[in-house]
Amino acid sequence: MNIATMENATMSNLLGLNELLAIMPQLIIAFGIALSLLLIAWQRSQQMIALFTKTILVFALLLSVNLLAVETTAVTILLKVDSYSIFTFILICLSALVVTQLSSQFLKSHIEVHDEYYVLLLLVVLGAGVLVASDHYASLFLGFELLSISFVGLVGYIRESKYAVETGFKYLILSATASSIMLLGIALIYSQTGQLSFAPVTEISHLQMSSFYAVGMLLFLVGIAFKLSLVPFHFWTPDVYQGAPTPITLLMATVSKVAMFVVLMKCLFSQSYFVSENLVQLITLLAVFSMLIGNTLALKQDNIKRLLAYSSIAHMGYLLIVLLVSSQQNMAFAWQSAQFYLAAYILASLSIFTVISICEHQNKGASETDVQLSIDSFKGLFWRNRALALLTIIAVLSFAGIPLTMGFIGKFYLLSHATTGQLWWLVAALIVGSGIALSYYLRIVFVLFDRNENELSVYSYTSTEYVLINVFILSGIILGVFPDLIGQFIA
């Protein structure tokens, strides 16, 4: 009886035109991957593959922009596309576009042609697309694995860099353990609920008692928490962020985090989890720890990429506040705040990493393979190249949540969510955390203004980068002062 019902459900979904249209962006990316493989077979040139990837991403982006108005459609029981997933997919495509632009700059300095880099990149975007739209544990599993395995390849990509092997191994072993833990969690949940899809479970009562369900949910959360690098499971993040090439670190900081968080929200909200008390307690614990420990670890950090790794741990901690929903109508506001905060976080990360990759490119001598930027390498940047310094300031202020930047409005959303939900512990942790965070963010800003530096070479960059920088500066300020431009998309 079970199989029959499942059959006609899938039959009706597959053929429908609007279902097909709903997941069209993901499909385009998939075709893109196949076509780029064919392209590699036909003719291997660096510019060609980069251009092709960009067109695929732009095409997917445009398509999902006009899909924004679509109402939620379930495509087979695996995927459910709603406005939230579309908006997140737009963010993912945008960051992937920026990553391709930066990496084509990054790879230019190596002699061989790097076609498979772009294929892996598209695979990551596809994985994220599947994750974002998933409504079933199986699709979650597929997206998750697609993401992690292709990241292992990308993380250790630069052959000569001395950290490549170490980063690759660390990421592989730990993400494999995390995914198996998550799978075990899913198995335990499945054994108790009997259904793998995110649909709300009918009888909740007996689930409260069974410890298997509770352990299963915990293990599932641990797997996701690993990917979001929340505190007890954050150990891998600084090393991998430092070891990986800069565009890949940016990809990891934006795409993988956003996708994982949205899928976590979809899964938890649809299963009305907030009924179980100790899960809420667990999430509060994770959030408070990540906020405080993430910021404390970043305090005296000198390597800029490690510092950004710790700050992203703290930001995921802030974001977890959104999960603690007290009631049904509160959930819509939770989605709004999550999306706005993610948009602000992504914009800030894109800007700071653009600056880092441009500075890295300048400082890189002919010989050595990779250069580790420390905060002092930004010394006196304001007097040498105003645009880059302005971009760093806006990114750092947006991370710190100071007005005039998008980050402040994001923090405002979070604070209003927390105050209406009376989550006083989290509010206190947020305030203390952002107090600590200020000290290292301001250190970066003040280093920019140090003027007793002898006048170093002025940075030169290509025209597209110039456009990129100005676009980020303008959007950082304009979205900070007029957040409604993004607001009505989310609502």
């Binding site: 709004q336 007097w383 202020l397 100071i402 007005p403 005039l404 402040f408 409005i409 405002f412 604070l415 209003s416 105050t419 209406t420 509010v427 947020l430 305030i431 203390v432 952002s434 107090g435 200020l438 000290s439 301001l442 250190r443 800003v445 003040f446 203004f449 003027r451 007029f482 957040p483 409604d484 607001g487 009505q488 609502a491």
Partner: protein, 479 residues
């Protein structure tokens, strides 16, 4: 409409000054001076011939800004904010004059920061939508921190970071209080609003109002430095350039006092009345502690910084006395302290330019070689310790007379602060200007004479004829 022109006009002039500095050397300071004067005259004229009587808040502009939380861009003025805005403009001109020779490198960016912070401060004084108030409250911090961090003295980074973190963390508490009140308003009346007038009609149950009031009070107590959270001020002052100190002491402390009046005493009358004894003791402790610490200092600017902690203690004591006389006394003390501490800091700047040290032990006997500067120093030190005939005395006298019926013991302790202020005033004046002449310093130049002369003239006018200020605040709402 006029206020928006002023705020964004100042920002534009800042950008223009920064841009022009690149083209022509030393043009930025003329542009800054010109813009301050024109905007001040423009503001004064539009206030003069505007029909409304400013006893109540007169709305100037109210347009929707962030519709998801229906936050509006609303600006309004009443007597208190007009007085403080005019004080801000005057001190801004003093800042430009004081840093005429002092700021030599990157002065385009310096004047941009100066104009931006003045725009932020004016925004704070006339914002009526709580979110907009918080927005300006944070925005005015950025240029101020930049001024301290870039043009400051030896360990300026530490002072700038400490200044920023102190104010930022406490204003986050205020943000939580703002949001909680807004959502409480939404519960009461259905619609979410951040508008100050709507909040005034709100009657908040006492247990909630206490917490909300505390959230606001802590943010303003940090800004108006009262004792437990004052330690950012001495560091910020010793490291800031002269213009920074004048701006910081002259105006930024007043935003704290303004916030106390507008958003603590008027918004939560019952809760602040219960809280008043604690606030009173805090005020008296900061008066006495400020005076004692000032006496112990050997750094000129650090001594003046602790003295302004002591003076602002009088303002807090007066405000929490809920008495019309004390309210007027608080306003006069605010304006008087703005002028006298700005004068003392510009004096410190002049001495620093001549002997490149702020340490009192390096000074001595300057009166011999700089008689005019000695005269002005005596007058400003006199204002600092409340010499009658100068503005501070009127403010302190009215504050204490007004506060006496409510807290007899506290006022008597505060009166000991008068002795304390006399002691540190003497130490400040005598160690630097009297005693055996150690160094020969040049007397006041024309520009410096203009600065100190105008400040002394204003102190005398308010000291001898304070009705200039008082007839406006006569109609203070009966507390």
């Amino acid at each position: 409409m006029m206020l928006t022109i002023i705020i964004f006009g100042l920002l534009l002039c800042g950008g223009f000054a920064w841009f022009m500095e690149g083209i022509k050397q030393n043009s930025a300071r003329w542009i800054a001076l010109g813009s301050f004067i024109t905007f001040m005259v423009f503001f004064a004229f539009s206030i003069m011939n505007s029909p409304q009587s400013f006893n109540e808040l007169q709305l100037f502009v109210r347009i929707p800004w962030i519709s998801t939380f229906n936050i509006e861009y609303a600006l309004a003025l009443d007597h208190l904010s007009i007085t403080l805005i005019i004080l801000t403009f005057f001190l801004a001109i003093i800042c430009v004059l004081v840093s005429w020779q002092e700021i030599q490198d990157k002065c385009g960016f310096f004047y941009f920061n100066l104009l931006a912070s003045i725009a932020g401060i004016i925004g704070v004084f006339c914002a009526v939508d709580l979110f907009l108030f918080f927005f300006f409250w944070e925005v005015m911090l950025l240029p101020m921190t930049a001024i301290i961090a870039i043009w400051g003295h030896e360990n300026r980074h530490f002072a700038a970071i400490k200044f920023f973190i102190f104010t930022q963390v406490s204003s986050l508490l205020m943000l939580v209080a703002i949001i909680a009140t807004a959502y409480f308003y939404a519960q009461q009346t259905g619609a979410l609003s951040f508008y100050y007038q709507d909040w005034l009609q709100l009657d908040i149950p006492l247990h909630l109002a206490n917490y909300l009031m505390l959230g606001f009070f802590i943010a303003f107590a940090v800004k108006l430095p009262s004792v437990p959270v004052h330690s950012w001020l001495p560091d910020a002052h010793t490291q800031a350039p002269t213009a920074g100190s004048v701006l910081l002491a002259g105006v930024l402390l007043k935003t704290g006092a303004y916030g106390l009046i507008r958003f603590v005493i008027f918004l939560f009358p019952q809760a602040s009345q219960d809280f008043a004894p604690i606030a009173g003791t805090l005020a008296v402790v900061s008066i006495l502690y400020g005076a004692k610490m000032a006496f112990a200092q050997t750094d000129f600017k650090r001594l003046v910084a602790y003295s302004s902690i002591s003076h602002m203690g009088f303002v807090m004591l007066a405000l929490f006395a809920f008495n019309p006389i004390a309210y007027q006394g608080a306003i006069v003390t605010m304006v008087a302290h703005g002028l006298s501490s700005a004068a003392l800091f510009s004096l410190a700047g002049m001495v620093y330019n001549r002997i490149h040290s702020r340490d009192l032990n390096d000074m001595g006997g300057f009166w011999q070689s700089a008689p005019r500067m000695g005269g002005f120093a005596l007058a400003f030190a006199g204002a600092a310790f409340g010499l009658p005939g100068l503005a501070n005395f009127v403010g302190e006298f009215m504050s204490l007379v007004g506060a006496y019926p409510h807290y007899p013991m506290l006022v008597i302790l505060a009166a000991f602060g008068l002795i304390g202020s006399a002691i540190y005033g003497m130490v400040l004046f005598q160690t630097s200007f009297q005693g055996a002449p150690t160094k020969e310093i040049a007397d006041l130049s024309m520009r410096e004479l203009m600065i100190s002369g105008s400040l002394l003239l204003l102190l005398l006018i308010i000291g001898l004829y304070p009705n200039l200020l008082l007839q406006y605040s006569m109609g203070a709402p009966s507390l």
